[in-house]
């Protein structure tokens, strides 16, 4: 999906709610899981799991960490 289009002028308060440089981090868990070169291999195995499987399961943690970080950094703090 394309990057968000710049909006028509909005109030300063609205901007503060949605526009943040932290949001760019969201591209990491979108792009990384879609690069097969990173995970399409058998070795090394962990607990018997080939890399293909454990690494893709590990991307889940990456996704959670990123969305949590972005949420924490962008949530409004008692401003209303």
């Amino acid at each position: 999906m394309a990057a968000p289009e710049p909006e028509a002028p909005t109030t300063a308060r609205s901007r503060a709610k949605d526009h943040s440089p932290w949001n760019w981090l969201l591209f990491i868990p979108i792009v990384v899981p879609l690069i097969p070169a990173l995970f399409n291999a058998d070795s090394p195995r962990i607990l018997g799991f080939p890399r293909f499987y454990w690494l893709q399961l590990a991307w889940i943690v990456l996704g959670v960490a990123t969305t949590t970080l972005v949420y924490q950094m962008t949530k409004k703090r008692g401003d209303r």
Partner: protein
């Protein structure tokens, strides 16, 4: 023979009846002031908090399809079936900001469906009608897919019959009960049942991923058994890793499915039912817990390989029903009573999404077809009534899908639905960010994407089932004239063409100064939140209203 499975059947029936009772009681849960309103019946009062939303949306997105078809795909094709994991990782960051905007603008203007939004944003009833019809058509096979999940369980328990009616009687009864409590309780029923469903699924899967590898000699030998099976098979596309030809398909399928998921009307229904923007954002972080579950469930397919499960015969002679591998694995490896619990988890796992999907499809019909074309001045009570009746008809339609079509191809049906629903991406998802596209261009783009998508799906044969057309969603690039064996997901190609056509035509129509209607939303609408003074109060809930009052 069903007598061998008596314990399983008793446990299954008990849990099934328990959640049915909950479904009826749900009408009184978080008691609404007035149930005869689409916001109450169809969106649970728009007031669900973090936990309820988590269970509801989780129960909605990770369906019986998850439980049955994904491991079946892994069982049959190996690594390719694991696309469900990147698919459900990518989805959340992708829609993290988009859904908040949709929630805000819907909350402000009282929209119930994505087509309501399109109607007002682009001032085009035709575009809204296309979005609504696309949503309904894409949802129908998805509901049918849930029935496939229940049927695979019933089949494994030996509950089958000699003729079509006897074979389908149990799911007809199950769906009649489902239809009754959905009619009465609306979205509150699946929200309440989702607690039970997900608890059961989490228990079953946690037991399965620790107990089964222990019984089958550890994860290493499970993967080795799968590797040996795929090396012995003549199919070049399978294996426990991807090969050079299906990596593009893997990535485009995961990405395309992710784009499609939150365009489905039922996912949007779950999101719009939440209380505020924070609930949505927190859920985008918390919902991947289900993805972990999904990844582990997918690996049940390999456990079935290691346990040497042989799928039951399919509907036509000589075919096998690969959807039965997980139920068979449970039957073979678990004690009877726990297999019964696992089956109930799958059965109930089918009911929650089926209920939400039928509600979402009914809302689309009510708001964007009935109200738009039959009764402009429908009162909220009439809207709710039409939705309740439509939700029943939708379920009858889904039953017909299963009884009259071969349910073997459940996952492909769903993938076709994914291709269709993706064509609403420019109007709904990009429409949340920009009004740049011309409404007529969006309509023509939709037609182009839909036409191309259908043509591509028609061209795909399925070697396993000997069908010449509609055999899957992996389109061989050599049909476009490329000298390669690589395949690509149909939906991505179709939506790119859709976008290109829409963009090109927008430039032409703008140059020709063709009228483009009035945007009924303001930029500030996309940031509205709970308690915001400019959020529309209960009375002003008319999608046709020309202008929202500006506070």
């Amino acid at each position: 023979m069903w007598r061998d499975h008596l314990t399983e059947i008793i446990v299954f029936t008990f849990l099934f009846l328990l959640v049915s009772a909950m479904g009826f009681v749900a009408a009184r849960w978080r008691a609404p002031r007035d149930m005869a309103h689409l916001d109450e019946w169809g969106l649970g009062g728009r007031n669900f908090g973090g936990w309820i939303t988590w269970f509801l949306v989780g129960g909605d997105l990770y369906t019986a399809y998850t439980f049955v078809a994904v491991p079946a795909l892994v069982f049959g094709a190996g690594a390719m079936g694991f696309f469900a994991v990147p698919y459900t990782i990518v989805i959340y960051p992708l829609v993290f900001l988009v859904l908040c905007r949709l929630w805000s603008v819907s909350h402000r203007h009282g929209y119930v469906t994505p087509a309501d939004f399109v109607r007002n944003r682009f001032d085009s009833p035709i575009l809204a009608l296309l979005v609504a019809i696309t949503g309904i058509v894409a949802t129908m096979p998805y509901i049918a897919l849930q029935l496939v999940g229940i049927e695979s369980v019933l089949k494994t328990m030996g509950v089958t019959g000699d003729n079509a009616l006897a074979r389908h009687l149990p799911i007809i009864i199950a769906f009649a009960i489902l239809a009754a409590y959905t009619y009465q309780s609306g979205l509150r029923a699946p929200a309440l049942i989702a607690f039970v469903k997900d608890s059961l699924i989490y228990i079953v899967i946690l037991v399965a991923v620790f107990y089964l590898p222990y019984k089958l000699g550890g994860w290493g030998s499970i993967f080795d058994a799968a590797d040996a099976k795929f090396k012995a098979s003549p199919n070049p596309g399978d294996g426990i890793l991807l090969n050079a030809n299906n990596q593009l398909q893997y990535v485009t399928l995961a990405f395309g499915s992710a784009l499609a998921l939150f365009l489905y009307p039922h996912s949007i229904t779950g999101v719009l039912a939440s209380r505020n923007r924070d609930v949505i954002k927190r859920n985008m972080s918390a919902l991947p817990a289900y993805s972990l579950l999904l990844g582990l469930i997918a690996l049940l397919g390999y456990m079935a390989v290691a346990a040497k499960v042989k799928p039951l015969p399919g509907a036509s002679a000589g075919s096998v029903d690969s959807n039965t591998v997980v139920p068979l694995l449970f039957d073979q490896q678990f004690p009877d009573w726990f297999a019964g619990v696992a089956y109930a988890a799958i059965g109930i796992g089918a009911l929650v999404p089926a209920a939400i999907m039928s509600i979402a499809a009914a809302n689309l019909f009510t708001r964007n077809i009935y109200k738009e074309y039959f009764k402009r001045d429908a009162s909220p009570a009439q809207e709710a009534q039409v939705s309740k009746i439509t939700s029943m008809l939708v379920k009858v339609g889904a039953l017909a899908f299963i009884i009259f079509l071969d349910p073997q191809f459940s996952i492909d049906l769903q993938l076709i639905g994914g291709v269709i629903i993706l064509q609403t991406l420019p109007a709904v998802a990009l429409g949340l960010y920009t009004r740049w596209f011309h409404r007529t261009a969006l309509i023509v783009g939709w037609v182009a994407g839909m036409g191309l998508g259908m043509w591509m799906l028609y061209q795909i044969p399925n070697a396993a089932t000997k069908r010449a057309h509609f055999g899957g969603s992996a389109f061989p690039l050599e049909k476009f004239g490329f000298d390669t064996k690589m395949t690509i997901y149909v939906g991505i190609v179709a939506v790119l063409v859709n976008l290109a056509v829409a963009a090109l035509l927008t430039l032409i129509l703008r140059a020709a100064k063709v009228a483009d209607g009035v945007d009924n939303t303001t930029p500030d609408d996309y940031f509205a939140d709970e308690g915001d003074p400019r959020v529309t109060p209960g009375a002003e809930r008319d999608a046709d209203s020309a202008r929202e009052p500006v506070a």
